[in-house]
Amino acid sequence: MNRIVAIAWNTFREAVRNKILYSLLFFAVLLIVSALAIGNLTLHEEVRTIRDIGLFGIDIFGVIIAIFVGVNLLYKELDLKTVYTILPKPLWRWEFVLGKWLGMLLTLAVQMLVMGLVLGGVLAAEGSRFDVATAKAVWLLFVNVMLVTSMAVFFSAFSSPFLSGFFALGCFVVGRSIPDIRALGGKLGRVGQGGLDLFCAVMPNLHLFYPSGAIVGAEEVSVHRQFVGADYLLSATGYGVAYSIVVLVLAMLVFRKRDFV
């Protein structure tokens, strides 16, 4: 366990020294703060606008940072050959992958915490507060980011950063559009429907993590009114964790057989 913690902590230390991450965080904060000005342009919808833009900012920048971190931090170890020093130590290769992933997750957690705090500050400035529904929404976005990071780590275990980023982004776009893709099935006939169902079952259903506006349990949920309950939160988190574990295990299997030339 100590070895995994050591790798995770070192990964976090490496990530927080990355200037690109700070730039991304800066733009995320800028977007969330700008919601204050945009909200003032609306008629009695200031808080709603701030919450929507804030959560959108946390979502989009969270995913961008997750892909950036997931793709780069593992690849850099291979590219800069630091892995040659680390892997001959008494360490399993899977411990290394898990440690890197946990370090990335810690980095993302801190980044999302910062973005959440900024959103809370902006809401407070408008006379509102960071309520339970918003906290639930941010938690779901964090699980979403965890899953995207796992995908990025999996792809970077065998491909270049560009391709890994491309694949991970593709998975995010497809995963977020699962309900729309499913809806297409009706127009494709039985075989097409079957194929599409299989595709949707294999791809990560990231729509689960952005449920605002969707029908859950025959009711429309919204972060502004009635949001998802604890059971939804638990099942979505369980899905995200289980999917991440499967993808991570695949990444570990790829990494286990890899030659470090």
Binding site: R3, K81, T85, P90
Partner: protein, 311 residues
């Protein structure tokens, strides 16, 4: 306890490179043993397969054929890795860490307790002469300093076997001497050292036994004294300048000027006694007679030529 700490048995590695998966045989056949307590040199020209062999032994690259054992365990094995220290070729470390932070990370990976890690890190930083750079991030280190911290990290787990890939690369003569001394010190401490290099004078000064690899194939393994032929390749005779008459040179001999006088080089098989008698009869002053045996460099070149002609 086994006398053999590392065994490579018919190791081979073929890479598939590029879009067309072109086959490249980096190592064709590497078999050798490293015995406890010795300094073992793994010699070969650039691109001969030294680093790939060491990577196979360290579990970084999987062999296509053959078997590798380190400290009695089949590679890769975690228990064996715990008793092993490795310095990769041209090492690159986490540049944002200071030597203390880096050694602490390595110590944690080697399952060294926190308190012990601090003590070992401080001692190793002093041992490799980096006390002055203790708090400096590694990105500000010169190549020689990185090589030293690389050796320190290899020793952090208090290993029985230390494997160093080209440890002299990028070092000035003083740095090279320090690394040589360190290797001999490790040997005195009872550790086994395996290192790869193509810097032959260092090998002559440090190694008990060597293996030579050319174009991916090991051509000779053994103690240096056994590998170098005892036969005399030539005899060098130094005649004092301006004294007597220089005798006629036998076939194949050469004569050249040197600061000490006239140097006569008689090839193997020449009548050295006859030449010396003739020189003395001609009143020549003889200041030195030096038989020249095969050096490691001669052997290296001979093996390289043999490999080139056989391929």
């Amino acid at each position: 306890m086994s006398d053999v700490v590392l065994r490579a048995d018919g190791l081979a590695k073929t890479f598939r490179l590029g879009f067309w998966r072109k086959r490249v045989e980096a190592v064709k056949e590497a078999s050798f043993e490293v015995r406890r307590g010795e300094v073992f040199g793994y010699l070969g020209p650039n691109g001969s397969g030294k680093t790939t062999t060491l990577k196979m032994l360290m579990g970084l690259v999987f062999p296509t054929r053959g078997r590798a054992e380190v400290l009695g365990r089949k590679v890769p094995d975690r228990a064996a890795k715990r008793r092993l220290g490795y310095l990769p070729e041209s090492p690159y470390f986490y540049e944002y860490l200071t030597p203390e932070e880096f050694l602490d990370l390595v110590g944690a990976l080697c399952d060294v307790r926190r308190g012990e890690r601090r003590k070992r890190a401080a001692a190793l930083i002093s041992r490799v002469g980096l006390d002055h750079a203790r708090g400096r991030p590694l990105r500000k280190f010169s190549k020689g300093m990185l090589q030293r911290i690389g050796i320190a990290q290899a020793l952090m787990g208090d290993p029985e076997l230390v494997v160093l890939d080209e440890p002299m690369t990028g070092l000035d003569p003083i740095g090279r001497k320090e690394i040589r001394d360190l290797m001999l010190e490790l040997k005195r401490e009872g550790r086994t050292v395996l290192y790869s290099t193509h810097i032959l004078p260092d090998v002559e000064l440090t190694c008990d036994r060597v293996a030579m690899i050319f174009a991916g194939r090991i051509r000779s393994v053994g103690p240096l004294a056994e590998l170098l032929t005892a036969r005399v390749l030539s005899t060098e005779i130094c005649l004092a300048r301006g004294t007597g008459v220089t005798p006629a040179l036998p076939p194949g001999a050469s004569l050249r000027d040197s600061p000490d006088g006239m140097l006569v080089d008689l090839p193997a098989g020449s009548d050295v006694d006859g030449f010396l008698r003739a020189a003395l009869a001609g009143s020549c002053g003889i200041t030195a007679v030096t038989p020249r045996h095969e050096s490691l460099e001669d052997l290296f070149v001979r093996q390289a030529e043999a490999e080139a002609s056989s391929s």
